[in-house]
């Protein structure tokens, strides 16, 4: 019974990682840059939902929409101000800019909201499921997080493969120059990618804060890094890869905590990452990209 509970908790945590990782992987796949500020957009999403619900008195659905709108606007703004001017600069400059944006957001939040943690009221109103006479308790948050994780991955895949905008994303991801020549609006497509990625970050933020209800300006930092690891583990740029990577990371983290040592769980998780990357450098589902000479 305990095993199933460990496993479910792992899948739940993994689903949050997966949703964040989807944002990472989309932006990387299309804009070829690591958006290290992604985790902090998640934090902003958490605060936006918190304010909408607790201060402005909006209902849960409106609060979620409000948070997604704020994050989308923020994501597009960050892209326009900080990343677009560097489109032709080398990747190191963009990476450093992203780290800069990450710290900027964290410190702005520190300034606006203070360092004191805020307790986030769960947006999930499902009661916990009690199985086997109370031996196995599955929280509403766990169920919703897992379902939303699957839903987001499926919708995202459909969007990319079935719509024109999605096709444009694929084209930009394959070859920016050629896509421009074919009449694809590259800047618009990249902005759309950031918009979708940031909206996903907001969803992840709300789910994360519902399951683990403390909100601080650094809430997004560690999940952001873990999700990045998940994206790399699954094969960065691949949407199913990010999903599988996220779930795998969550399960691995929780099972090693349960059966090996709670002290060593992070060390174990990151060792697995190193081993996977040694065997398969492009990640589990990553495509092998030939370096253009």
């Amino acid at each position: 019974m305990s095993f199933i509970s460990y496993l479910l908790n792992g899948i739940s945590l993994g689903s949050v990682y997966a949703i964040i990782a989807l944002g990472y992987t989309m932006v990387y796949g299309i804009a070829k840059m690591l958006n290290f500020a992604h985790g902090d957009i998640l934090m902003v999403g958490g605060y936006a939902a918190f304010l909408a619900f607790n201060q402005m008195g909006l209902g849960i659905p409106l609060s979620i929409l409000f948070s997604m709108a704020i994050c989308t606007a923020l994501g597009v703004l960050v892209e326009r101000v900080a990343y677009k001017p560097l489109r032709s600069a080398n990747s190191l400059a963009v990476l450093i800019t992203a780290i800069g944006v990450s710290y900027l957001l964290q410190n702005l939040a520190l300034l606006l909201f203070g360092a004191n943690p805020k307790s986030f009221q769960s947006f999930v109103k499902l009661p916990a499921l009690k199985l086997a006479g109370g031996q196995l308790v599955i929280s509403g948050e766990t169920m919703v997080t897992i379902l939303v994780g699957i839903l987001v991955a499926v919708v995202l895949l459909l969007f990319i493969h079935k719509t024109r905008a999605g096709q444009a994303m694929l084209a930009v991801s394959e070859d920016k120059g050629a896509a421009t020549l074919m009449g694809v609006n590259v800047n618009g497509t990249i902005a759309l990618t950031f918009a979708i990625g940031s909206a996903l970050a907001s969803v992840a933020g709300i789910l994360l804060c519902s399951a683990y209800p403390t909100l601080t300006p650094t809430t997004g930092a560690m999940p952001g890094i873990k999700a990045f690891v998940a994206a790399v583990l699954g094969g960065i740029g691949s949407i199913p890869g990010a999903f599988i990577g996220g779930i795998l990371l969550g399960v691995l983290e929780n099972l090693s905590k349960a059966y090996i040592s709670s002290k060593l769980s992070d060390a174990i998780v990151f060792s697995v990452l190193i081993i996977v990357l040694l065997i398969k450098p492009s990640g589990i589902l990553g495509k092998k990209i030939m370096e253009k000479v």
Binding site: S2, N54, A128, V137, S262
Partner: protein, 401 residues
């Protein structure tokens, strides 16, 4: 163009030099003046004044602690001055900011020393306290840190402290749980990446068997994975723990309590002073903390006269509820007063003579303060006092006795 620019820069530099010179000149003048003033007033009243320094992070991330310490000390000093000072001499107080940084702490200490400080109520945080303690040992300046809880803080002979050391909290917690029969099977979750938390954990585990307690589950987390506690809690539940000891800060504890509630796991939860503040987490469902016990030297809601007065004055003056650090500093000032009176000291003695006398007198006094009654100090500089246990009932701290 370049030449012009360099000319401008040179001119600016020259101007700034002049400005600096002017400023320091003025400062000297005012210093001399104030010295003269002090001497003249000293001549009038036959006496000098005590010069007590206060030091802590007044800006930066740990500013909450430093400001609480200087505020708490100011309240005590105002009270003492209003009642005739120490041994008939009034107290002057000066505070310095160390930004919770070791180098800046030394600078702050030196500037206070130049001002003529005789005793220091500080530093507030552990790392600066260790740095300043070593520096001050050479001067034999008497240091009373309100809240530097790391073991090493009191290593120099001239440094004493008001708060418990980290390990002492673990030992006291185990004693309290054992003597009050709160449970025999103990589960512990602690932050293995934090000195405070692991320090308490280690001494708790060492003391537990002596109190007839059995540690049935001992789990860790780190600062990097401090969100999901479901696995640790599941292990607590499986091990049959009756009491779960949580020696870490309230922000993580709020998560632990929420997740335990979701799992339907309801042992007694027991924390240390880092748990203080859990009721102030914005929007936290305080009903989850119902029955939570914590061992803390100070609770602002306590009903004894001393605490009620202190909290009232503090709120009037600073518009906020005092935290433990403020109470520690308040007690520190009164401890200095008690020791000075015990040894019959006067402000005209040298810093080193005062230091030697204080080191002896501190071990001879017994103080009833905000953070404990009958506080006594040993030669090592550590305090012996009974911690107060509080329990959360109907969303407020209530004394557990």
């Amino acid at each position: 163009m370049k030449k012009q620019l360099s000319m401008v820069l040179a001119a600016l530099m020259a101007a700034s030099l002049v400005a600096c010179g002017g400023a320091s000149g003025e400062k000297k003048a005012t210093e001399a003046e104030s010295k003269a003033n002090a001497e003249s007033s000293g001549a009038e009243k036959s006496g000098l004044t005590w010069k007590i320094g206060g030091q802590g992070p007044l800006t930066g991330g740990a500013a909450v602690y430093g400001n609480a310490v200087v505020n708490g000390a100011e309240i005590a000093i105002d009270e003492i001055n209003a009642n005739g000072g120490i041994n008939g001499y009034q107290i002057e107080y000066k505070k310095a900011d160390d930004e919770h940084d070791q180098e800046k702490a030394i600078n702050a200490y030196n500037s206070l020393k130049d001002w003529g400080m005789q005793f220091l109520v500080g530093p507030t945080t552990s790392a600066p306290a260790i740095a300043v303690g070593t520096e001050a040992e050479g001067d034999n300046m008497f240091l009373l840190s309100p809240s530097g809880s790391a073991v090493e803080v009191t290593a120099p002979k001239n440094v004493f402290r008001v708060c418990f050391s980290d390990p002492a909290q673990g030992t006291k917690s185990a004693e309290y749980i054992g003597s009050h029969n709160l449970g025999k099977k103990i589960g512990i979750i602690y932050d293995s990446s934090d000195v405070y938390s692991s320090g308490i954990h280690d001494s708790f585990v060492a003391e537990a068997p002596k109190q007839g307690l059995e540690v049935v589950a001992d789990e860790q987390f780190t600062a990097d994975s401090n969100k999901d506690f479901s696995t640790q809690l599941q292990k607590m539940k499986d091990s049959g723990a009756e009491l779960v000891f949580l020696p870490f800060y309230y922000s993580e504890a709020a998560l632990v309590l929420t997740q335990a509630n979701t799992m339907g796991f309801k042992p007694t939860f027991f924390g240390c002073d880092g748990m203080d503040g859990i009721l102030n987490v914005e929007n936290f469902d305080v009903s989850l903390a119902e029955g939570l016990m914590l061992l803390t030297p100070f609770a602002a809601d306590a009903k004894d006269d001393l605490t009620v007065n202190f909290v009232k004055n503090y709120k009037e003056k600073y518009k906020e509820t005092p935290i433990q650090f403020a109470a520690d500093a308040y007690d520190a000032v009164y401890a200095i007063k008690a020791a000075v009176e015990k040894a019959g000291l006067t402000p005209d003695q040298s810093v080193s003579d005062l230091g030697t006398a204080m080191e002896k007198a501190m071990t001879e006094i017994s103080l009833d303060g905000l953070t404990g009654t009958g506080m006594k100090w040993n030669e090592a500089g550590d305090v012996d006092k009974e911690p107060k246990a509080v329990i959360i009932k109907d969303g407020a701290y209530v004394s557990a006795e």
